[in-house]
């Protein structure tokens, strides 16, 4: 058993296009972008739909649940993560479709598997934003 490290919470850059996303994180909501023209959900959130080019897109609240698509256990981080480890970098496929880069936390890194179910938790940063990370769903 190797417990994942406690992580730093680097502040993301917030711009007018993505401010509603970060505001939602402060309320514990993970929202993504939905296209009314083609019906696709995309990640990371942007006004333009990358699948059809329409700007007829809107925010969609997710259930905050997903599946681990792949992950890496970094032994020692760099930059903001300098000296931190082990920690899990992962792609999580949301139940609503898109796959996002994140961390898996509060886990035994040795027991983690691709396909594991995970749920979002938010970690407040110094900015008006919280980081969406995921933890294993209790079986």
């Amino acid at each position: 058993m190797t417990e994942s490290a406690v992580l730093p919470n680097p502040a993301p850059a917030i711009d007018p296009e993505t401010k509603p996303y970060w505001d939602a994180t402060l309320e514990g909501k993970l929202i993504i972008r939905h296209c009314n023209a083609c019906g696709e959900n995309h990640w990371y959130p942007r006004t333009l739909c990358p699948f059809c080019g329409s700007v007829d897109t809107e925010w969609l609240e997710t259930a905050g649940k997903g599946t681990i698509y792949t992950f890496a256990i970094t032994r020692k981080g760099l930059g903001h993560y300098g000296g931190v480890g082990p920690y899990v970098l992962a792609f999580v496929a949301l139940d609503e479709g898109p796959t996002m880069l994140t961390n898996i936390i509060e886990c035994d890194v040795d027991a983690l598997r691709i396909g594991d179910r995970v749920e979002v938790v938010f970690h407040k940063t110094e900015a008006e934003a919280a980081l969406p990370r995921f933890r294993p769903v209790a079986q």
């Binding site: 993301p12 792949t70 256990i73 970094t74 903001h80 796959t99 996002m100 880069l101 990370r133």
Partner: protein
């Protein structure tokens, strides 16, 4: 319209040093440029086109043109990370074919060993940055994402990945300039410390100072030079990105750049006598071999067994200079050195122990950026002068 035969590589030079504490970045660019020009029998005043990427200091190619005193009618500073210099060959050939240039210089240089770590992926103004950088994505962590998924889908093992490092290290022992000149075993690779599980330290390339340069010229110029030249047969490039969140980390942009290059060259994977495959990490090589069509998707792990990558007699002799995995990865960008060794092979100038006998057609492939998120891919196919 095709660039097949429109241009020739007439000069090639690799900086012999791997640690350079006593020079400026501009100086190293200029040194490798001078080396490649001397190799071609040309001088700075002959150059009319300059190609560089993000490692060149200053404004596009103009700062280095100023430093070197170049009088140019064409510049291109296409930046696709480590794949840039392979893309530049295609761009130079197209410019030459269009009559916009006749003698093109391409340079790469970097001094990453003289700086604090630049492997941190944070702090850019890119639109994806707020959604990725806060989660601690190191370069090795990102490539480990690809490795684990490839293992999951196709049963690829750490031992199979290790075979790639082993082959590179066996080649490196013949390169007096190699950063890691000692052959390693599969056991040594898989027992080296984990950096980002499932990638071990020895799954990673070296970090080196240095650089390299190429001279790409028109057929008319090539004819007048007293030097064996290498023919540019075809080129392809393709960025790959996260596709709006439909992420698939089990393939690279080589899936698109490879077929484009093969088609232009009029050859297929079975015609390739020697391949320089971008090797930032062992998994980069494995996925690229599959994507270029040397084996089926998912079969890369089996393909690399039994010395398949070892020169001179493996199925696909690769990276005979030791590659980025054991020789040189200057500026954290391996595309230039990939071309340099392909040129050596086609000129019969590789070390005799690793020279592929009668190598007629070679491939060089570059990967830039981060395979599982946003990467550049560029493939060039080269032949002997009369190919």
């Amino acid at each position: 319209m095709s660039i097949r035969g429109a241009a020739f590589i007439a000069g090639a030079y690799e900086h012999p040093k791997r640690v350079i504490p006593d020079k400026s970045l501009g100086q190293v660019h200029a040194e490798v440029a001078a080396g490649a020009l001397a190799d071609a029998g040309l001088s700075f005043s002959d150059v009319d086109a300059y190609f560089c990427a993000g490692d060149a200091p200053g404004l596009g190619g103009i700062s280095m043109a100023d430093y070197m005193g170049l009088k140019l009618r064409y510049t291109d500073s296409t930046e696709t990370g480590g794949s840039s210099y392979i893309a530049h060959i295609g761009h130079a050939a197209a410019a030459i074919k269009a009559g916009k240039a006749s003698i093109a210089l391409i340079t790469l240089a970097g001094l990453p060993r003289q700086m604090s770590s630049n492997l941190v992926m944070e702090g850019s103004e890119a639109p994806e940055d707020p959604f990725e950088a806060p989660f601690g994505p190191t370069v090795h962590g990102l490539y480990a994402l690809a490795a684990r998924r490839h293992m999951y889908e196709f049963g690829t093992t750490s031992e199979q990945l290790a075979e790639i490092k082993v082959a590179a290290s066996i080649h490196a022992q013949y390169n007096p300039n190699a950063m890691l000149p000692k052959p390693v075993t599969v056991e040594e690779v898989v027992n080296s410390p984990m950096v980002s599980d499932p990638l071990h330290r020895l799954d990673c390339c070296v970090v080196t100072d240095g650089g390299g340069a190429l001279i790409v010229v028109s057929p008319e110029v090539a004819r007048d030079l007293n030097r064996s030249v290498v023919k540019v047969l075809g080129h392809g490039e393709a960025p790959k990105h996260t596709n709006g969140g439909k992420v698939d980390v089990t393939f690279t942009g080589a899936r698109w750049s490879g077929p484009a290059a093969f088609e232009e060259a009029g050859v297929s994977p079975k015609d390739i006598d020697y391949a320089s495959i971008y090797d930032s990490f062992t998994i980069t090589v494995l996925e690229t071999i599959e994507d270029l069509g040397f084996c089926e998707k998912g079969k890369g792990g089996e393909f690399v067994l039994d010395g398949a990558l070892q020169a001179p007699f493996g199925k696909l002799p690769f990276n005979t200079d030791g590659g980025g995995l054991a020789n040189n990865h200057p500026a954290n960008r391996g595309g230039m050195t990939k071309v340099l060794e392909a040129v050596r092979q086609l000129r019969d100038e590789a070390h005799p122990a690793v020279q592929v006998p009668n190598a007629q057609i070679a491939l060089a492939h570059g990967t830039g950026g981060s395979l599982p998120t946003r990467m550049g891919a560029a493939t060039v196919i080269l032949g002997r002068e009369d190919a």
